[in-house]
């Protein structure tokens, strides 16, 4: 029997397609403007781990690559690096469990953070993620090495993952971490069951070791009191900004975020925001939460004292008004103001934003040196200021780690500017990679060699495990 016939036998005729047009829609995201297009040969929409298992057995038999994909490009799977089978997991989106008492959530791989969060909110819980978009889903944010930002005090989403159900390359359905106990009375209660932690093997793996079909998260209590405050500094005060970030993180504030003024280019342009003060270059936002108003006041005072200590000036209202529209700014949902801004930006630059670096990870203490290098190369390639604005957007994370993105506004069809960005990126990468910087990208071929040359031992270990688990190299071939 040929592959298509066998697939249809497993899945049913309606959910398997080798239509060129359908496959094309699953090609590697064209959004990045990388001129990188790989499309699958077949798309299969799976609904159960058992189907995934049978597909993997079949793929092994035919030695065909299999790539899983959730709904969204950002924080979702990027599509195949080689043809083969594209496994669309979007129908696997059930919420399996919300355990209010033990503060756990389990959902199928394709469930979006939005969906899960909406449900958690009703139970007084939350996930401290920045991935509240409709698309990023609970598995993808855990297994792709990109973008799954959480909140300062708690780290990234993968810091909250406690267990997986996954289908190994040979089709075996296994459970690791807390999910190993999901079918027992105690439920999926703890990541660190007896023995080594295997959850980590699947995180940031691009699915190379198995197809994740369920994810267990630990949740937090949704605090009743919140406050947001932002402060600004001139460019010359970058060391003070650094200290503010370091200390805000050390104080375990809920969230500490930093960006430069270029993030507001669009807002200023259409006069939605008053112009930023002359001497404003960096803006640091603090989010604090509390159980009582009294506790909140004290935390607000701590924020204010910290900013004061390092000479930050209050930018009243910015955090509130900006965050009110931010989530919709470039992810233009039903919010007319936000959409208008996006469209203005589009009109001005005849394009949209394009990541130069997505994402860079480095010690927070290096923020000044990294920023200055970004500025140096950005200026050299003329993408630093208007109208391309190399926007700096930094997530200060627990463990004194900065995860930052930088993007510029360009027309993807304009080869000159796309080329400038690529040259800028290459030059920066060399400097950054030599110092031990970490690149995160959805697409391993686009990840520079530093990714592995900086960690040859880990790479070697991964390849040994990969060979042991996936001898036919059917899952995410090209990743390791």
């Amino acid at each position: 029997m040929d592959l298509m016939t066998e697939l249809k036998e497993i899945i049913g005729t309606e959910r398997v397609s080798d239509s060129a047009a359908i496959c094309q829609a699953y090609s590697y995201s064209c959004f990045l403007g990388m001129n990188w297009v790989r499309k699958p040969d077949v798309v299969v929409i799976a609904e159960t781990p058992e189907q995934v298992s049978r597909i993997l057995r079949l793929a092994n038999h035919h030695k065909v690559p299999v790539t899983p994909r959730g709904a969204a490009g950002q924080g979702g799977h990027g599509g195949p690096l080689q043809g083969g089978i594209l496994l669309d997991l979007t129908p696997m989106e059930k919420i399996i469990l919300i355990d209010t008492e033990n503060m756990k959530a389990v959902a199928e791989a394709g469930c979006s953070f939005f969906k899960l969060s909406q449900e958690l909110f009703k139970h007084g819980l939350m996930l401290p993620t920045a991935e509240y978009g409709p698309g990023p889903n609970v598995a993808a944010s855990a297994i792709t090495p990109v973008n799954a930002f959480g909140k300062t005090r708690y780290g990234r989403n993968i810091d909250l993952v406690e267990g997986f159900e996954a289908v190994l390359p040979d089709g075996e359905i296994i459970t690791v971490g807390s999910m190993a106990y999901a079918d027992k009375d105690f439920g999926p209660f703890y990541r660190y069951i007896t023995g080594p932690d295997l959850v980590g093997l699947f995180t940031q793996s691009n699915g190379a070791f198995g197809i994740v079909t369920k994810v267990a998260y630990r949740c937090l209590k949704r605090s009743p009191h919140w406050a947001f405050h932002s402060y600004y500094w001139p460019l010359s005060r970058i060391e003070e900004v650094k200290q503010t970030l370091l200390e805000g993180t050390a104080l375990e504030m809920f969230d500490v975020h930093v960006n430069d003024k270029y993030k507001y280019a669009g807002l200023e342009y259409i006069k939605l925001l008053p112009p930023l003060p002359e001497d404003c270059h960096f803006i640091v936002y603090f989010t604090v939460n509390a159980e009582t108003g009294e506790e909140l006041s004290i935390k607000e005072k701590a924020v204010h004292d910290l900013a004061q200590k390092y000479g930050g000036k209050l930018l009243p209202g910015l955090a509130e008004s900006f965050f009110a529209i931010w989530p919709t700014f470039f992810c233009p949902v039903s919010n007319p103001i936000a959409s208008a801004i996006s469209r203005v930006v589009l009109d001005v630059v005849k394009g949209n934003y394009m990541y130069i670096y997505d994402s860079l990870t480095y010690p927070t203490s290096w923020f000044p040196r990294v920023y200055q290098k970004l500025m140096e190369v950005g200026k050299k390639y003329d993408i630093w200021e208007s109208p391309r604005f190399a926007v700096f957007d930094g997530f200060a994370m627990k463990s004194q780690v900065m995860c930052s993105q930088t993007w510029a506004f360009v027309d993807y069809n304009d080869e000159y500017w796309v080329g400038q960005i690529q040259k800028c990126r290459d030059e920066f990468r060399e400097w950054f990679g030599e110092r031990g910087g970490v690149f995160q990208s959805m697409l391993p071929p686009l990840t520079p060699d530093y990714t592995w040359t900086n960690q040859p031992g880990a790479h070697q270990l991964l390849r040994i495990i990969k060979r042991a688990l996936d001898p036919n190299n059917i899952l995410s071939p090209g990743s390791f």
């Binding site: 064209c30 233009p332 949902v333």
Partner: protein, 400 residues
């Protein structure tokens, strides 16, 4: 800023490949405020399931995002307009949910522009669109009926208040037209109509990608109304309403008369005290927003106002309502005619949703009404399906 609603495919050149793949147009969301202070405000709180073609076909291709991607490739000449592509393109229900969400890219407009490209290139449309378009051209109705349009009550051919019944009320649902006319007359409106000279509004032509025919229909109808002395054109059909109100001006310039849907008019008459509902209609009733009246036309409040004015009637909302209302499955009449299984599946889902909330579903568009009613009957779903004009008539004690 350019009005994208008037754009053709090439106008999307600079935008088509800029979609960020955020998936808001079809997946679960859109998004919640960043601050966790509260649940998303209702206007942000899109329902979980919102794109009918994604929910039915499940392929990423069958979403605004997927169609936008494909449109980009077609424009770049990187992809042919194949049969596959045609099917993907015409299984869009046109419900406008994606445009509601993604106001930056207005993906539905790209889809429509691509349909025009299909027709321009002379590529075969899905069955039975070619036949239906031919019917519009030859017989001026979408059903291909040779008989001329026939408004059930004899009305003057000229007047300030012109009733435009549309193909459904003219050919298939005369009771809707009758009830509408009698209610308006009871309100003291001197209602007139083009009668036999009324021609198809061209909606289906437009949604087939047949812009030429759509423009032709527009020119004819607008000219006829002008001649009849119209100050106000009153529509029963949401599709016609959208066509008259939003597309005709693009084709023929600003209209010299007002375009109003019957639900808008009834709400106004109630407000002015020109009509009143004195007969109780008991029961839990839910209102289904027709996509072309609601999201396309932004008419949400007036039909609810009318319903709430009926004594005895308890108006309840379905989970998805107002701007987040779900398509009835008729899908700009394209789905209804080309992909009846899909159309039925969507209608079933909508009917079941209504069943959760009420014992009667009321809608304000003959197309939605007929499709939902027929599906309820076929599937034996125990839910009364009504259209708003007849309900108004009943509440006023008017026979129809």
């Amino acid at each position: 800023m350019m009005d994208l609603s008037q754009a053709k495919l090439e106008d999307f050149r600079e935008r088509l490949n800029l979609c960020l793949n955020c998936a808001a147009c079809f997946y679960r969301g859109p998004i919640v405020p960043h601050n966790w202070r509260e649940l998303p405000p209702p206007e942000w709180q899109a329902p979980s399931k919102k794109c009918p073609s994604f929910e039915y076909y499940r392929f990423r291709s069958h979403t605004a995002l997927g169609r936008l991607t494909l449109a980009a490739l077609v424009w770049r000449k990187d992809f042919p307009i194949s049969d596959d592509l045609i099917k993907i393109l015409y299984t869009c229900a046109g419900c406008n949910m994606c445009n509601e969400i993604c106001q930056t890219f207005l993906p539905l407009h790209s889809i429509l522009a691509l349909r025009e490209e299909v027709v321009e290139r002379g590529i075969a449309l899905p069955e039975p669109l070619p036949e239906m378009n031919a019917g519009i051209k030859e017989f001026h109705n979408i059903f291909g009926r040779k008989a001329k349009a026939k408004t059930p009550e004899k009305l003057p051919a000229e007047g300030e208040d012109m009733y435009f019944a549309g193909c459904y009320a003219n050919y298939r649902l005369p009771k809707t037209a009758t009830a509408t006319i009698r209610v308006l007359k009871a309100a003291g409106i001197n209602i007139a109509s083009l009668g036999e000279n009324e021609r198809c509004c061209g909606f289906l032509a437009r949604w087939s990608g047949n812009r030429a025919q759509a423009e032709k229909s527009a020119r004819y109808n607008v000219e006829a109304m002008k001649k009849a002395g119209a100050k106000r054109v009153i529509l029963s059909c949401a599709h016609g309403y959208h066509m008259w109100k939003n597309d005709y001006p693009r084709y023929v310039g600003q209209l010299p008369f007002e375009v109003i849907h019957v639900t808008e008019l009834l709400a106004k008459l109630l407000e002015e005290g020109k009509i009143a509902f004195r007969h109780e209609i008991n029961g839990k009733i839910t209102y289904h927003d027709p996509c072309f009246l609601g999201r396309h036309g932004k008419v949400y409040e007036q039909p609810r106002k009318v319903l709430k004015s009926i004594p005895g009637l308890e108006l309840v909302e379905m989970e998805r309502c107002g701007k987040w209302s779900y398509c009835c499955g008729a899908g700009a009449k394209v789905i209804l005619n080309c992909y009846p299984d899909f159309a039925r599946a969507v209608a079933k889902e909508r009917l079941r949703e209504a069943q959760q909330a009420a014992d009667t579903l009321v809608t304000a568009c003959p197309v939605c009404f007929e499709h939902l009613k027929k599906t309820a009957d076929q599937e034996a779903i125990r839910l009364k399906v009504r259209d708003l004009p007849t309900l108004a008539a009943e509440a006023m004690g008017i026979e129809w």
